[in-house]
């Protein structure tokens, strides 16, 4: 497999979509559908979280099934910041990223000593440990989670309107995608992609493989933390459910649907899955069956995912 290289039409398409996203709130309000701004924000936040997992899984080749722990940790840090009176996102968001990144560093340092099925199970188990830790933390609301008294401000700008939060999430996602796009082309990106392909060879070229993997894992954790902090603002709650492994599974499903190792894989996956949920759950309470059948279909018949159509990664 080669290094990731975007398809030529990808950048213009992304810019067009970004412009469309910028216009979305006004369009929705023109049609009196402001309700969907919240939904769109949710999609953006999950796109960010899924993209962070794609960095770890798609580019770094590390099959983590505990990514939601970092997502949830970010949400909790945001809520704890609010509780402590830190209501400026300019401070709280970096703190959330730092905390989630450090947590990922710790989990990674232990679990990256293993490979394959082992690594999958261990990341899963550590995430579950984080889940139980928050469930039993009474100071932070235990089972019920920790509510936020209100939304944060962004350097004096209030995020209490849905539009403000939407644009904040859009900026965060755009910045993350630009960063990941640069990263994929930079030394670090080439290094982790090559490690994904053949770690022994990289070790034999003098690369301290473990260190690069760990940094990649922690970076992914930090980005997930940012997504979590945004989500806490959207829902007004940091819930232990965010850390549950089914949540990790959902993020994973997004990345796989969107395309593992494609820059926009996380975004495409989040849009597809959440829209599917929105539509299907309108028809039936039991839409998970439909989703399950669909996923089985993807595994058996379209193993490369949807975003495989959007980028080149020749085999």
């Amino acid at each position: 497999m080669a290094f990731y290289r975007p398809a030529p039409y990808q950048k213009p398409l992304a810019i067009v979509l970004l412009l469309a996203a910028l216009a979305l709130p006004s369009v929705l309000s023109a049609f009196g559908q402001e309700f969907y701004v919240g939904f769109a924000t949710r999609v953006l936040i999950f796109a960010l979280a899924a993209s962070s997992l794609n960095l770890v899984l798609g580019f770094g080749g590390m099959f983590s099934l505990g990514h939601a722990a970092f997502f949830g940790a970010g949400a909790y840090v945001a809520a704890i910041c609010m509780q402590a009176g830190i209501s400026d996102a300019l401070l709280a968001f970096p703190l959330a990223m730092l905390a989630a990144g450090l947590l990922a560093l710790l989990v990674g340092a232990l679990s990256l000593r293993t490979r394959g099925v082992y690594f999958i199970m261990i990341t899963l188990a550590f995430a579950q440990m984080a889940y139980y830790l928050f469930v039993s933390a009474r100071a932070w609301g235990g089972d019920d989670g920790l509510p936020l008294v209100g939304r944060m401000t962004l350097g004096g700008l209030s995020l209490s309107s849905d539009n403000a939060l939407f644009f904040t999430a859009l900026s965060a996602l755009t910045a993350a995608i630009v960063f990941l796009g640069r990263l994929a082309d930079a030394r670090f990106g080439r290094t982790i992609q090559a490690i994904r392909e053949n770690e022994t060879r990289m070790e034999a070229l003098g690369y301290p493989v473990f260190r690069y993997r760990l940094v990649c894992f922690a970076l992914g954790g930090a980005l997930a933390g940012l997504a979590g902090a945004l989500l806490a603002n959207l829902t007004g709650l940091a819930s232990p459910n965010l850390l549950q492994w089914m949540q990790s599974g959902t993020l994973l499903v997004m990345v796989i649907i969107g395309g593992v190792g494609y820059l926009y894989g996380g975004v495409v996956g989040a849009v597809v899955l959440l829209c599917l949920e929105e539509v299907l759950s309108g028809f039936t309470l039991h839409w998970h069956i439909g989703l399950g059948v669909l996923l089985l279909g993807i595994v058996l018949f379209a193993p490369k995912g949807v975003a495989a159509l959007f980028g080149k990664r020749d085999d």
Binding site: R182, R190, G206, P208
Partner: protein
């Protein structure tokens, strides 16, 4: 006498109940081409794995360039100046020849940190110019942009060599560089190694005896995990124990 560049002392390793390597004493002097030969299954590749750091010995030690490296990881040994090529071609098949070697250059200590997240690597001229020069050295100047998977087998072997060279080693561990190549490619490879030997010390594991006797300054013979002889090609050729081990072979 100066200290050897590579000095392996009393190296032993058991797999299950089998002595893969037993009390092996082996050294490579700076500047020489030292060939390690032996029948299939003698433990040659296992030995290379222990020198390069892919495996750890049960007992014994490995010294390189004046310090003990027995417990160092593979990447640390590479940083200390040891590079290896693989018996089975082990390059990034999806990348161009140039990208392959550029990765090797980038991994070097003096090439700067690879924790760079922003600047596109392909804009780093130095990386690619250097990579190009290594490809020229192994005769792949015309195949720079070819995807490694599309190179001929002999060319892939040469690429493998270029990658090892790009780490700028003091010692090159070549594990059967001639494996699977045709006679013409073999001849080219021998020439290439001869040329490289002027600049770098080489430990060569090879089955092609013609090549071995042409290239080696010294030859060691490994049989059933034990080193039975070390000496000049003439001495090894004349050694009765070696002749017995190769019974009727083409020595």
């Amino acid at each position: 006498m100066t200290e050897p560049l590579l000095d392996v002392r009393q190296l032993s390793r058991r797999f299950a109940a089998v002595d893969a390597l037993k009390d092996v004493n082996f050294s490579v002097e700076a500047g020489e081409v030292h060939a390690l030969i032996g029948p299939n299954g003698a433990g040659k590749t296992t030995f290379i794995h222990h020198v390069s750091g892919a495996l750890q010995p049960d007992s014994g030690s490995v010294h390189f360039a004046g310090r003990e490296v027995t417990r160092l990881a593979m990447h640390q040994r590479v940083a200390a100046g040891m590079a290896r090529s693989y018996q089975i071609t082990n390059v990034f098949l999806g990348l161009s020849a140039l990208d392959n070697v550029a990765l090797a250059v980038q991994g070097r200590q003096d090439a700067g940190s690879s924790f760079r997240f922003w600047q596109a690597a392909r804009t780093e001229k130095r990386l690619f110019e250097e990579a190009r020069s290594f490809l020229e050295q192994v005769g792949l100047a015309k195949r720079v942009e070819t995807v490694a998977g599309n190179l001929a087998h002999g060319e892939q072997r040469a690429l493998e060599l270029a990658m090892a060279l790009a780490t700028q080693p003091q010692l090159l561990l070549l594990d059967e560089p001639m494996a699977g190549t045709g006679p013409e490619e073999s001849a080219r490879m021998v020439e290439l190694i001869e040329h490289l030997a002027r600049h770098v010390t080489i430990l060569l594991v090879e089955h092609d005896m013609a090549a071995v006797f042409r290239l080696a300054d010294r030859i060691s013979v490994l049989v059933n995990g034990r080193l039975i002889a070390t000496g000049t090609p003439e001495a090894v050729r004349a050694d009765p124990e070696v002749r017995r081990a190769y019974l009727g072979d083409h020595l």
